[in-house]
Amino acid sequence: MMRNLIRSEVLKTRSTQVWLWMILPAAALTALSTIGQTYGSIYDNEHGGAAIRYYDIFTTANGGGVALLVIGILGLTTEFRHKTITPTLLAIPGRWTLLVGKAISYAIFAFFYAVICIVVNFAIAIPWLDAKGIPVEFGHGVPGGVVKAFLALLMTALFGLGLGALVRNQAAAMVIGIFYFAIISNLLSVIPWVRHWIYPWSPGGALDAFISNGTIRNTADDVHRLAPLNGGLLFLVWTLVLLGAGGYFSLNRDIS
């Protein structure tokens, strides 16, 4: 049944043009983040190039996260908006089965998007650094950073799916999700008391910690941040909590 469900969900998403159009913002956001990081990079002969923040450049694939968030939100809110939740539940009466199937399907789509984001990141950064005469180095935890960016994109899509399950109204879920990651999370990260005691435990803070380079921890700025792995696990917990709450409170309600 799960295999059929995943085939159906993938077909459902592929049958509209939204998934194609969403590649554009995902690629554009990644490109902007990559350009922003690469632009100021200058090879520092005195310090053997150490001033170049290779890690930051090659983890900016995560810049496309908002697009993944939106795709995730669409996963269930579209069903409620167009009332296709009724035929969907007639075909798959098990609501938790449906939620798990959707999560797997959207992880598959997020995988595809994450690959595109990383390709865009590399396609801009590597030739540009090369043109500047800067040697392209993948040391300093960069491969691990790329993998983390990849996983962050996947989890962001699932976070969006969970948010959409909980807030069934599509417009409301979009506004909440985008507003949170684009504004609220950034605000929390600069308010003095909040940044140390609330922000690190919030979804945005956890995701930020996951992507951050562990080697720069314990500076004055990052003293209360979680270690990357802990941040990743915390964001995964947030994602699962949203999916669980969405399944329990929202999807389990009467469909009338």
Partner: protein, 329 residues
């Protein structure tokens, strides 16, 4: 059509609703409702707006959790059916389609979910006469086309049970005639068809049985033959029917006098009335038989429930409600 006997609900294609109740806040939308729908029949599920028809169908299909009671198909709850689309085909709304999907895409999505071959989508589109619109986006479909697409989706798994909510809405007369024949064909194959409708004349044409709800409660159920037994009415018109009225009362027949002066006598024996008219020298301009009218029965059973509903604007056949008629001759 009786309350379900416990051990026999597992018959393939049988729908059993047993003391089903749904309470929304303080409102009892469905109240201790029990009925059984047998395979090989078309059952009309009737009731005014807000009677609880759609809530009942949604509980039957696992979309709404009952407050109490059970609703089973093939002896189990819908969610427990091993291959639901191959057991039950249901269409509850005429607009459950993503507007950017074509009709064919919509059906193929549910073929994939049910593990059915994609070609089944083409086959059912042919069956409902939508082949030419298969690759048109559903946002461009007319109401009638949406109804047909909804019907097509019910047929994907070739199910033994079909549950349809107002399937004739938006269909043109040709579509309605086609639907009628289609229902008869499905029932003839031994399938169970449960159809809720406001189009009472259509239901009377096609249904073998009816279940009538009012305010969430069962008010009448039975075969059309059971419901129509003893309901035939003789219509008598003439310039002066008074002597005949007295003769009819003397003969023990009951009926009513209509506003236009005609008589309606509860009998199907026209010969007897003709004889009485002849014996009393009464001139007749019409002596005809008015057979069972589901619409009349429906309104008499659900009287008072139509205020503010789309059925409240007229009285069936222009007749005055029963309580306004003169209880003679």
């Amino acid at each position: 059509m009786t309350a379900p006997p416990g051990g026999t609900s597992a018959v393939r294609g049988r729908i059993v609703v047993d003391r089903l109740t749904k309470v929304f806040g303080t409102q009892r939308a469905v109240d201790e409702l029990s009925f059984t729908v047998e395979p090989g029949s078309v059952t009309g599920f009737l009731g005014p707006n807000g009677a609880g028809k759609t809530t009942t169908l949604r509980m039957l299909l696992g979309l709404i959790e009952p407050t109490s009671g059970t609703a089973t198909i093939n002896g189990v709850r819908y969610a427990s059916l091993p291959a639901p689309l191959e057991a039950v085909g249901a269409a509850l709304e005429a607009s459950s389609f993503h507007p950017a999907h074509t009709g064919l895409q919509h059906l193929r999505i549910y073929c994939a979910a049910a593990g059915l071959p994609a070609r089944r989508a083409d086959e059912v589109l042919d069956l409902v006469g939508l082949r030419d619109a298969a690759k048109k986006k559903t946002k461009g479909y007319s109401m009638g086309m949406r109804q047909r697409l909804g019907l097509a989706s019910t047929l994907l798994g070739d199910p033994r049970v079909l549950i349809l909510d107002e399937p004739a809405n938006g269909l043109d007369p040709e579509g309605i005639r086609w639907l009628r024949g289609f229902f008869r064909h499905l029932a003839g194959e031994g399938r169970t068809v449960l159809v809720s409708s406001h189009q009472l004349a259509e239901v009377q044409e096609v249904a073998d049985r009816v279940v009538i709800l009012n305010r969430g409660r069962l008010v009448r159920s039975g075969t059309m033959a059971e419901l129509s037994a003893g309901t035939s009415t003789a219509v008598v018109r003439g310039p002066n029917l008074h002597p005949l009225q007295q003769a009819l009362v003397a003969a023990g027949l009951t009926g009513s006098t209509e506003a236009d002066g005609s008589l309606r006598v509860q009998t199907d024996d026209l010969r007897h009335i003709g004889q009485l008219a002849f014996q009393h020298g009464v001139e007749l301009h019409e002596l005809s038989l008015s057979r069972f009218d589901l619409e009349q029965l429906f309104f008499s059973l659900t009287e008072g429930a139509h205020q503010g509903s789309d059925l409240g604007a007229y009285t069936p056949n222009g007749h005055a409600p029963a309580h306004e008629r003169t209880r003679q001759p």
